[in-house]
């Protein structure tokens, strides 16, 4: 696929030829991010892209991240696609995804094999009980941080509660509930909270 033309002149300023990575460079950069991303990949991606390899400026990275958090899918996976395709089109995007995912997939499958093998041992089972309780806490903390800006906004909080009831209590299928909830939420907040 041909490199789509950049939609904004600012894109052209990105990377002089010196910092504009090739496909192999994109693969290598994201491979290192995947390797190092213990406990959160995004900070490592920012460090690699902005500080170490200087592919993007801080402001450009923030723009890309804003887009990638807006779209569905894993945020960091979207960042790899956006950055890879920005420099080298479709091959760049593919190189970025493969680089990012290769090591983590291999490692996680190795861990899964070890877990399956030793899951019945009492020590491993107990360690996993502790680990899983802490992992739940990570999701709870993340959800509280996301919900924090909604405090005091009655309509927004009501939508959050309705979503919780629909998904966690009634257990409606997401492909059914999500479009309805999202469209209703956008319409209600647009009309009454603008």
């Amino acid at each position: 696929m041909a490199d789509p033309p950049p939609a904004d002149p600012r894109l052209l300023e990105t990377g002089s030829d010196k910092t504009r990575p090739g496909v192999a460079g994109i693969f290598a950069g994201f491979f290192m991010v995947g390797m190092r991303g213990f406990g959160g990949v995004l900070p490592w991606a920012r460090r690699m892209i902005v500080e170490e390899r200087k592919w993007l400026t801080e402001a450009e990275f923030a723009e890309v991240l804003g887009l990638c958090q807006f779209l569905p899918g894993g945020n960091i996976i979207n960042v790899s696609v956006a950055v890879g395709s920005r420099f080298r089109g479709a091959p760049g995007a593919l190189a970025a995804i493969l680089g990012l995912m290769l090591a983590p997939v291999a490692i996680v499958i190795g861990l899964g094999a070890v877990y399956d093998r030793f899951a019945e041992q009492p020590v491993v089972r107990r360690a996993f009980a502790g680990l899983a309780a802490a992992a739940s806490a990570f999701v709870l903390a993340a959800s509280l941080k996301i919900a924090a800006p909604l405090r005091g906004r009655i309509l927004a909080m009501a939508i959050t509660v309705v979503t919780f009831v629909a998904i966690a209590i009634i257990r409606l299928p997401l492909p059914l509930a999500m479009p309805v909830l999202a469209l209703a939420s956008i319409a209600v907040l647009w009309r009454f909270e603008a």
């Binding site: 990638c68 569905p72 979207n78 997939v105 899983a132 309780a133």
Partner: protein, 175 residues
């Protein structure tokens, strides 16, 4: 259609485009499909796989490849991962180039604003379902509360917290 791998692939192709806010917002649906509807694993195994993904390097989405691996081995891991990545990546690929044109558009802000409370509800749902599966006794519940407090108030490294929690479990302080 009866092949578990085909069912998982179709599930993840859909989930890819519904994962606003990343992997954590599709956890309730994954658990519903994998545990409740298709009986591929217990809620406890699901929570354990999630914890394993959390402890491994890489994106949150890694839980998807673990589910695939648990159900159908190596081919399951790779296929499910490809299915959850492809649709959203194709979308990002095409939208990224048009982003500058609409990033300040009122309708884009309205969408973002409207999605936030829904995403918050999905994440709280994920947390509630995981906590229900991981709180095997009061001490583990206490650990979840303590870790949440720690994460909300300090900048302690995630790996330190996970390692500490696993150690507390291993020596029998909790669980």
């Amino acid at each position: 259609m009866n092949d578990p791998l085909v069912r998982l692939s179709l599930l993840f192709l859909q989930m890819s485009l519904l994962a606003f806010g990343g992997a954590n917002s599709i956890l309730p649906e994954l658990q519903r499909q994998v545990v409740d509807v298709n009986h591929m694993m217990t809620p406890h195994t699901f929570a354990a796989l999630f914890a394993l993904a959390q402890a491994a390097p890489g994106p949150n989405m890694m839980v998807v490849s673990l589910i695939g691996w648990h159900v159908a081995g190596l081919s399951g891991a790779i296929l499910t991962m490809a299915c959850v990545i492809a649709p959203s990546s194709v979308l990002t690929f095409f939208v990224a180039h048009a982003w500058y044109r609409f990033r300040d558009a009122p309708w884009r802000r309205a969408i973002q604003k409207g999605l936030l409370p829904v995403t918050a509800g999905l994440l709280i749902s994920s947390a509630a379902l995981l906590i229900k599966a991981t709180t095997l006794d009061w001490s583990l519940g206490l650990l979840t509360v303590a870790v949440t407090g720690l994460l909300m108030t300090t900048k302690v490294h995630p790996m330190l917290v996970l390692g500490g929690a696993a150690a507390l479990g291993a020596v029998g302080v909790v669980g």
